[in-house]
Symmetry: C2
Subunit: 445 residues, 2 copies
């Protein structure tokens, strides 16, 4: 977005309560649907509705498709049946797939009933695949030819309107199965009557429709093409995945990971209603409360010691924090490695050795520093010794769990990015407190 547009959008957002309609009209002319979607997401709910009222009818469907699900639903809920009717009057299969989850079931049925037969067939095929399968998101802007076509047929086809991202023509057999791709560029200078199969790119791959979004995206790191065909079990050509879809899915994937690490949903609306937002976050807080009580329980085992040596209570956060930070460094490296495919069961052992050595070195280094500071602070060398030992143990345990927790979660098919850090912190907190207060009970009473 140009700075100028950004500034004018800021002005719009600032006008919050009473939307400046003239300003919107002026700005919106230069905006793509995804920019309008972002603008709407940036507005508190009332202002969002006002702004939405300004979006021209013909742009509305495109804007809704670009919005995150929750913000989109906030608009769709306000539709009366007439505007809903207008909205769904002319949807294609891909658009309906995107919007279906935000629409009432009967509206989806009406939209389907109004589609032409081909689009309906597309919809039904795509809807079979679940949310993590690429088959669900294909588009159908394909340039297809029967496999026995010739160069002249291809040239005729290319003179018509050609969909974006068309760098290959795709061949299909009589039953609609994908039968190879011909690079458009190879057509130049070829005799009219040459069969297209002779120009076929033999290395050209197709994507199974059941492939996960993540893996489908990876295919684009090798394939040097602008779009890949997506086929079902029997090889039937269902549609295509473009590089733009790959870029979009990548954004969503990473976005979801980031949000999941704080127990949030990628589709969450920035201005979700307070009640709904509170309820959702309460779950995550509740899970974390359990782990916090676990840590408290561990401390509670040593009430007597704490009463006599209050310095231990003062220093507890240092032990817990050093373990938590050291552990999260290892955890992050391992989660990344698992995601990239750098880490398999085969190299866990050498990795564990390395992380334990790194933890050992840093443990000893910081144990010395912390031991000396604590010893001086409380004028008690023995407190220094106790915290130093606790730090060494806790950082070593942190390294160990930083490697093992995500590897085990992955084995159990639980996303380590989601729950790895809660589990790790629980381990380092409990171990840290027990070791520190336990050693304190042994040496300081």
């Amino acid at each position: 977005m140009s700075d100028d547009i950004t500034q004018r959008i800021e002005q719009l957002i600032r006008s919050e309560d009473a939307l400046d309609a003239d300003l919107y009209a002026e700005v919106s002319e230069d905006l793509e649907p995804d920019q309008v979607a972002l603008l709407l997401e940036s507005l508190p709910r009332e202002a969002r509705l006002e702004c939405w009222a300004q979006v021209p009818n013909e742009q509305r469907v495109d804007v809704l498709v670009e919005m995150r699900a929750e913000a989109r639903a906030s608009l769709l809920r306000e539709f009366d049946s007439k505007s809903l009717d207008q909205l769904i009057s002319d949807l294609d299969a891909e658009t309906l797939i995107e919007l279906a989850e935000s629409l009432p079931g009967d509206v989806v049925d009406i939209a389907l009933a109004r589609m032409d037969e081909r689009q309906r067939a597309h919809y039904e095929r795509s809807a079979q695949y679940d949310e993590d399968a690429i088959g669900r998101y294909v588009d159908h802007d394909l340039l297809i030819l029967p496999q026995n076509s010739r160069v002249r047929d291809a040239e005729r086809l290319l003179r018509r309107e050609v969909p974006e991202f068309t760098d290959h023509l795709w061949l299909v057999d009589r039953t609609g199965r994908f039968a190879g791709a011909v690079p458009v560029i190879r057509l130049f200078g070829q005799p009219d009557h040459l069969p297209l199969v002779e120009l076929r790119d033999d290395e050209f791959e197709s994507l199974p429709a059941t492939r996960s979004l993540r893996e489908a995206t990876e295919a684009f790191e090798h394939a040097e093409v602008a779009a890949l065909p997506v086929v079902d079990d029997s090889g039937l050509l269902l549609g295509r995945m473009t590089t733009r879809l790959a870029v979009e899915l990548l954004h969503e994937h990473y976005d979801a990971q980031l949000m999941a690490s704080a127990g949030l949903d990628e589709e969450e609306d920035l201005f979700a209603p307070v009640m709904r937002s509170s309820r959702r976050r309460a779950t995550w807080l509740g899970i974390n409360l359990l782990t916090a009580f676990l840590a408290s329980w561990a401390i509670g085992l040593f009430e007597g010691t704490l009463q006599q040596v209050v310095a231990l209570a003062v220093l507890m956060p240092v032990v817990a924090s050093m373990g938590g930070i050291a552990g999260s460094q290892t955890l992050t490296l391992i989660i990344r490695g698992l995601a990239l495919g750098q880490i398999t069961t085969a190299n866990v052992m050498p990795l564990l050795r390395k992380e334990l050595s790194v933890g050992g070195l840093n443990g000893v280094l910081w144990a010395l520093v912390i031991g000396i500071v604590a010893g001086y602070w409380f004028s008690s060398p023995m407190i220094g010794v106790v915290i130093a030992l606790a730090i060494v143990v806790n950082i070593a345990v942190a390294a160990l769990s930083g490697v093992l927790v995500p590897v085990l979660l992955q084995k159990l098919k639980i996303d380590p990015a989601l729950s790895g850090s809660v589990i790790l912190t629980t381990v380092t907190d409990v171990v840290g407190f027990v070791v520190f207060l336990g050693l304190g009970s042994l040496f300081l009473l």
Copy 2:
């Protein structure tokens, strides 16, 4: 990667000390350079060197380019001057740009001296741009024609070998300035003598070479093309950015963000030497130690209270943890919003109101739960009241800082993903301890 290859790679990694050369030879035939790079990164350093010895000479440069910088450097360090000489005997500008940071300066000079004049000019132009500018990473596989060319010139050009991702021909004026793009597909069925300018796509954009990688990637979310031209200040065509580069840069961007959140570097080698790895992580641990001591100091203010009411020491982690978790939820939502451009100074106020309301609701809810549990646990209703009040205050402060900390960091041009969470935890820890122990001193002594 097919499962079969993955399995055989696992076998290779498992063979750790003595690499199975036959197995490698068999596997590697099916591997792309980036897969070999990943395999090498997955191996402990000794096994990595053995495996590297098996990589055929003609694949080596491509593999090195695909590797993360630190792992790559671990291989390059072992090169004797003869193999280094062989490696750099035939580099193009893009490859040398990628490898330059891992090579000794004099080796780069030799490589430059051996390049042909055109490649050297490309290198020198790209090297002017810094690491975050797209100008540095362009490739030079362009199909260019003078702007007064005709359809027949284009067709002649297209009959030769055409670089991947060519969906447009680019026109340049006499001085080499970008003068528009012609979609290859529009050429079909056009008369030979038609000037290409008449087929030009008038909406076609070019990217300024100084544009940041992140913004350059965004351009591909709107442009429906497989490659975009990159131009310097004066409009001179420097090279191109393909969708594949966009996908690669996106991966690296998010990867870097993830690693930065734990104080790590994206280029970090999974099997970095223990000393180096320890030294790097020590910095982050040191920063966090300071914040932990700050929390300890806050607790230390209440030593007298803790001695008399040891239950407070036991419950401290609950107050700190609830604040930390609630804060990190808000923080994550805001960091995501800032990255997407959803949040500007214009909507910070309504956002703050919303997050404070959510925090207020959850604060009250969990304050009740925790208050009751704590009251029963220590058979003291007053302890329940004290912790309940502390939880309400700390969750509200968490919501406030969760919004303001990242927004301020962004204003100061500090990446909130890097330091946001350290600052936030410090705030919630210190505030939590002071409020909890302060209230304890007031009501329980």
